[in-house]
Amino acid sequence: MAKTILIVDDSESIREVVNFTLQNAGFEVFAAGNGIEAQKFLDGRTIDLVITDLHMPEMDGIGLIKYIRATAGYNRVPILFLTTESQLAKKIEAKDAGATGWIIKPFVPAKLLAAISKVIR
């Protein structure tokens, strides 16, 4: 069965790029525009991987990561966050919150898939 991935980003273009790349790679992809939407989506579902942006309205990436880690059934789900090189402090914050790894923006499809392959197989 195809692995399921949830992409959480407020930018539609990012969501689409990720969606396109991952679907071509054989994953089943779901999308959410922010943390709250993601929370709603996750409620009662299983998912193999969450990819989230850090800066989003409503509930940001850090908040989402913390929520996921604190929720029974999700505390072992790998989480990758999207970041830019300059945000070192954010990177540490996200890792401390429980993120598994990160993807540096801007990215090419190969890089995205390489990062994913480190956390799910």
Binding site: V77, I79, G98, T100, G101, W102, K118, V119, R121
Partner: protein, 687 residues
């Protein structure tokens, strides 16, 4: 004689062995400068060692040979038949000097004078030639770009809490190239302290890859803060191409790679590579200071080849290991009874270690068959010349290893088999041509592992054996009755009977008197079996099967009337459960199981036991020559690793037990030699 001299003697006989090997190869490939080099080096070390340890005669004699091969190295002299013959004879000459106790010095002196004259003839003669070797071909340096790394990955316990799966990292890492992975389980706590989300395993990986170090680092980019990671480059080339490293890469869980040793070998290989390329570059220019270089090279090679240990010490070690295994079995049993988690854990760890210790100790006693092959090559070469036949000798699987006592025990039988092949098996060139074969015969010695056994087969493409002729001879000698009905195979097996020899005339090679019966007896002394198969006109194959080791066997623990016995696993084919009724009603000790008829022995009867047998018994089918024969026991306890102990004096006269083993609870189990059980009871029943 002092210790150094003794050591030199050992070394020297090793060198002579190497010399013969190199000469035999050089005979095939007279243009090979490496072989000439190694012969020169051997002479050089004999000369040096001889001078140092009081063998001046060896020193002065090898000096001449060294000169001769030095001229060859410098391409001033060409390898000739005479030169090879002289060197072969010199090897014998040096051996007799080494072994001389003063009684043969006159003979040796005479021999030396003759050899010296022959060497001088070569050195002074006009055989000097500068065209003997072609220009040295420059070996192309293959720059593959593959480098080797050591990587240690030790995740902190919490690593899985952020969704990381350490297995994926290892998967990704080993995907980069050739690898060996060592897993460490030792940090796993006992059940009570085990936290489901925590990570306890850690890994060591040896990796050869053409990717750069950054690619390796990149694998761990997400977990830099969650793991202890060590990445070390250990070689600039592919470590998996270095045969010397291979044994160090055997993965043994919970035992780290011996990194220092691996690195040292890599270093050596790198130096060798460098020397090789330097030597190639400077070959045409510098010839002067090559002497020192060779000394250096030699000392280095000998320093890594291992150490010499007196064989009694190894025997002591093996005895201690055997005791340890027995004690371990006792501890296992005790730990199992007392359900203490900590005790169980320690026992399991200890068992793990003793098993590894056992394997390592055993591997020390193993010697490759190659050790014998050199001797055999010489034998075939010399004998085939003597009888005027052309015979090619090929050894396959010479790297197969055998226990040293087995190597000692098998040498003579194999020599005898080879002599037979050369003398009786292979026909003369004329006969071969007439039979439409190639004029030169071939003998192949093949060794390989088969389960817990080592198989050594000697095959010749000679005349083969004629069952009719053998049978006639056996009748003539009164070994069988004139009206015996024998299949061809049974007829050929007659050669194993004492006092049998088909040779028309006595020759001084295989002679008469010592026959195949002795071969068979010697092989069975070391718990081996001999089989022969032959087809007339096509050749003969003699197959020897030996146990891997003599002192520990994998056995099946069985019970008969509340007494434990062990049957070696290697002879067991299948096991069936049978009703006691079926055994009692069996006609002529033959039982029908799943549509096949099997002869069987009922050990309760054979042992003369009268108490009542269980309603359901087990019949173990053991391999006996080409058949399966059943042995009935009460029940089967399970597999058991038995340390064989010899039986005491009182029991020496029995023939059906090969030894005894002490079980974990201190009781003794006798080890059944099924071969002899069947032989003995067959005899007894026929009487």
């Amino acid at each position: 004689m002092d210790n150094f001299q003794k050591k030199f003697l050992e070394e020297a006989s090793d060198l002579i062995n190497q010399l013969e090997q190199a000469l035999l190869t050089l005979e095939q490939d007279t243009q090979n400068p490496e072989l000439v080099d190694s012969i020169f080096r051997i002479m050089h070390s004999l000369k040096g060692g001889g001078g140092m340890f009081g063998f001046d005669n060896i020193s002065s004699y090898t000096h001449k040979l060294e000169n001769m091969y030095d001229l060859v190295r410098q391409k001033k002299l060409k390898v000739t038949r005479e030169m090879l013959d002289i060197t072969f004879e010199s090897a014998d000459h040096i051996t007799s000097m080494l072994n001389d106790d003063g009684t043969k010095s006159n003979e040796i002196k005479r021999n030396e004078e003759i050899l010296n004259r022959r060497i001088d003839a070569i050195l002074d003669g006009d055989n000097f030639s500068d065209t003997s070797f072609g220009p040295a071909e420059s070996l192309e340096q293959t720059v593959s770009g593959v480098k080797s790394y050591y990587v240690k990955v030790k995740p902190y316990e919490h690593i899985q809490r952020n969704g990381t799966n350490p297995f994926f990292l290892i998967d990704e890492l080993v995907g980069l190239g050739k690898h060996k992975v060592n897993i460490f389980y030792s940090n796993i706590p006992d059940f009570e302290n085990f936290v489901l989300d925590d990570s306890y395993l850690w890994w060591e990986i040896i990796l050869s890859t053409d990717k750069d170090e950054d690619a390796i680092k990149d694998v761990f980019i997400f977990v830099e803060d969650d793991c202890e990671i060590v990445i070390q480059r250990i070689s600039e080339s592919d470590i998996f191409e270095m045969p010397k490293v291979a044994p160090l890469l055997d993965c043994r869980q919970d035992f780290p790679f011996d990194l220092d040793k691996i690195k040292a070998i890599c270093q050596e290989e790198a130096v060798k590579e460098k020397e090789k390329s330097e030597a190639e570059n400077s070959e045409n220019k510098a010839k002067v200071n090559s002497g020192d270089e060779h000394i250096k090279k030699f000392t280095k090679e000998s320093s890594i080849s291992g150490i010499r240990v007196a064989s009694e010490k190894i025997d002591d070690l093996m005895n201690l290991v055997s005791e340890l295994i027995t004690t371990q079995a006792g501890l296992n049993l005790y730990a199992e009874k007392n359900k203490d988690a900590e005790l169980t854990r320690i026992t399991e760890n200890l068992e793990n270690i003793s098993r590894q210790l056992r394997d390592t100790a055993f591997s020390i006693t193993l010697i490759p068959i190659d050790y014998l092959v050199v001797r055999f090559r010489r034998l075939v070469r010399d004998l085939s010349r003597e009888v005027g036949k052309e015979i090619e000798f090929e050894a396959r699987g010479a790297e197969t290893e055998l226990d040293k006592t087995l190597i000692e025990g098998i040498s003579e039988p194999l020599m005898h088999i080879l002599r037979n092949s050369i003398d009786h098996g292979i026909e003369s060139a004329a006969e071969r041509m007439a039979a439409g074969k190639t004029p030169s015969g071939k003998i192949i010695l093949q060794a390989y592992y088969s389960g817990s056994q080592v198989v050594i087969a000697v095959t010749d493409d000679g005349a083969g054996m004629d069952p009719k002729k053998i049978k006639r001879k056996a009748i003539e000698k009164g070994l069988i009755a004139a009206d015996s009905q024998l299949s061809d195979k049974e007829a050929i097996d007659l050669i194993f009977m004492p006092g049998f020899s088909t040779s028309e005339k006595v020759t001084n090679i295989s002679g008469r008197g010592v026959g195949m019966d002795v071969v068979k007896r010697k092989v069975s002394d070391i718990r081996g079996t001999v089989q022969v198969s032959s087809s007339l006109g096509e050749g003969t194959t003699i197959t020897i099967k030996l146990p891997l080791t003599l002192s520990i066997i994998d056995g099946m623990l069985v019970r008969i009337a509340d007494v434990d016995y062990i049957i070696p696993l290697s002879v067991i084919d299948t096991i069936f459960a049978v009703e006691h009724e079926k055994i009692v009603s069996a006609f002529q000790n033959v039982i029908n199981i799943e549509g096949s008829q099997y002869p069987f022995y009922y050990l309760r009867d054979e042992f003369g036991l009268t108490d009542s047998a269980p309603a359901k018994e087990e019949i173990i089918m053991v391999k006996y020559e080409d058949r399966k024969i059943g042995i009935v026991v009460d029940n089967i306890t399970g597999e058991y690793q038995a340390v064989l102990k010899p039986l005491g004096k009182l029991y020496r006269n029995q023939d059906i037990f090969s030894g005894a083993s002490i079980l974990g609870d201190g009781t003794v189990a006798l080890v059944l030699d099924t071969h002899k059980v069947i032989n003995q009871f067959t005899k007894y029943n026929e009487l």
